[in-house]
């Protein structure tokens, strides 16, 4: 039983590696659509219907966005081909750091620890005095 199971597990592990390689080959040329403002707003509306957006800033590489709504920041980040939306207090978004032209925001969520958005100047000028 144990030996048979170990053999089955090992063969399955090899098959997993093979399939992942195959998936890499098959999805090689796939690119997801760049995130423009209307797409970002649509993604935000999907998860937070009726959200009143004061302002929205898009990543220059079309892979993320951050929006302000009252005292909350709504972050749209890219994970693989999909997008992930989270909210954090606006004050926390304000103090997020920029490194190598990218804004990195901690989302304090085990399921989505952080988001990186191609925004070189942060916080926005209108919020700095």
């Amino acid at each position: 039983m144990t030996t048979a199971y170990l053999i089955q597990f090992a063969v399955s592990a090899v098959a997993v590696a093979l399939i992942v390689g195959l998936a890499a080959w098959a999805t090689h040329a796939r690119v997801s659509l760049a995130l423009d403002e209307s797409t970002a707003r649509a993604l935000l509306a999907e998860e937070f219907p009726g959200l009143d957006i004061d302002a929205i800033w898009l990543g220059t590489d079309g892979k993320g966005a951050i929006a302000k709504s009252g005292d909350r920041a709504f972050v749209v980040g890219r994970t693989g081909l999909g997008y992930v939306v989270r909210q954090v207090p606006w004050v926390r978004a304000m103090i997020a750091g920029v490194k190598d032209g990218r804004l990195r925001i901690s989302l304090s969520d085990v399921a989505a620890p952080s988001a990186t958005i191609a925004i070189a100047v942060w916080p926005p000028r209108e919020f700095t005095t």
Binding site: F9, G77, T79, V85
Partner: protein
């Protein structure tokens, strides 16, 4: 523990059909979206899940054997009628297990990872839990042993159900003939189950037969006008497999540590429950969505009435 294991027997079929779906989709012969990291996570979840299942299989099987020794009736494993009855009862048990796994956070923590892919393909079927055994949902099948079904019979039927549910994880099959869609869980019905659109949330819990959803009021047909958007209400922002496997358990523990007086709500409230209502449950998402759908209608009706 059991001589006949449908899942082990079906594993080569799983591997071959995933390969086939990827290759055919690559050449545009069928509809399927594969993403490398996502596929890797799904398959690794499945592989480790089978090993993790072994850790608790002994305990759950021993419990079933103990209950079986105190059974109400003796049901012969060789009787055809017994297989028909166990098929129906096991499938109904699966429905309630699955519904519980969506409606209470403690069990959702174990089931959530099956829903965490933003894609829907055959590999998604293999994205199985690592923590189902410790979540204890196997206890839901114990009444079948008490009734007198031999534990091996129940285990085989559970395996058959799992194997059945594999092939329905595909976008390649649109709709099956009406009589099949009426009775069986199909790719179309299960796509709805994996969708995060408010209309589709927490619907179609079926294992093999969709009749339980129709009977217990959780059925929703897939609508051509509303394409399924797959994944969670708040999707994962990582492909780290440990985060995928344990994020809800960790989130739940963090909530309990932060607000221990609400421990029961955090554990057994619906997913998305919070003491102050700052998070949203599926029920609230659906209700708010419904309100948004009916509002313009009501306004129109009202206007017409006044005019």
């Amino acid at each position: 523990m059991k001589a006949f294991d449908p899942v082990a027997l079906a594993t080569p079929f799983f591997i071959l059909t995933v390969i086939l779906e990827i290759v055919l989709a690559r050449f545009g012969k069928l509809k399927a979206t594969y993403e490398t990291s996502d596929t890797a996570v799904s398959l690794a979840m499945g592989l480790v899940s089978s090993a993790a299942g072994l850790l608790t299989a002994g305990a759950s099987f021993a419990a079933a054997m103990w209950i079986y020794q105190h059974r109400a009736f003796s049901i012969p494993i060789t009787a055809i009628w017994a297989w028909v009855v166990v098929f129906l009862l096991e499938d109904m048990t699966y429905y309630w297990f699955h519904r519980l796994s969506h409606e209470r956070r403690f069990w959702w923590a174990a089931h959530v990872n099956h829903h965490s892919s933003q894609h829907y393909n055959l590999s998604t079927a293999l994205r199985q839990t690592w923590t189902g055994g410790v979540a204890g949902t196997w206890a839901l099948w114990l009444p079948l042993s008490f009734l007198g079904f031999p534990p091996a019979m129940v285990a085989i039927q559970k395996g058959v159900s799992l194997v059945y549910q594999y092939w329905i994880h595909t976008e390649a099959i649109r709709r099956l003939p009406k009589p099949i869609e009426a009775v069986f869980n199909t790719p179309s019905h299960h796509r709805v189950h994996h969708a995060r659109n408010p209309r589709y949330l927490d619907r179609n819990y079926a294992g093999i037969l969709i009749i339980w959803d129709r009977m217990f009021g959780t059925f929703q047909a897939e609508l051509d006008a509303e394409a399924c958007r797959y994944g969670l209400v708040h999707n994962l922002g990582t492909f780290n497999i440990l985060r995928v496997a344990f994020h809800e358990w960790i989130g739940m523990a963090q909530d309990i540590v932060r607000q221990p007086r609400y421990v029961l709500g955090w554990l057994f409230g619906p997913p998305g429950w919070s003491p102050d209502g700052s998070r949203v449950t599926s029920a609230r998402l659906r209700a708010e969505w419904l309100a948004r759908q009916t509002k313009p209608q009501e306004a129109l009706t009202h206007e017409a009435g006044v005019g």
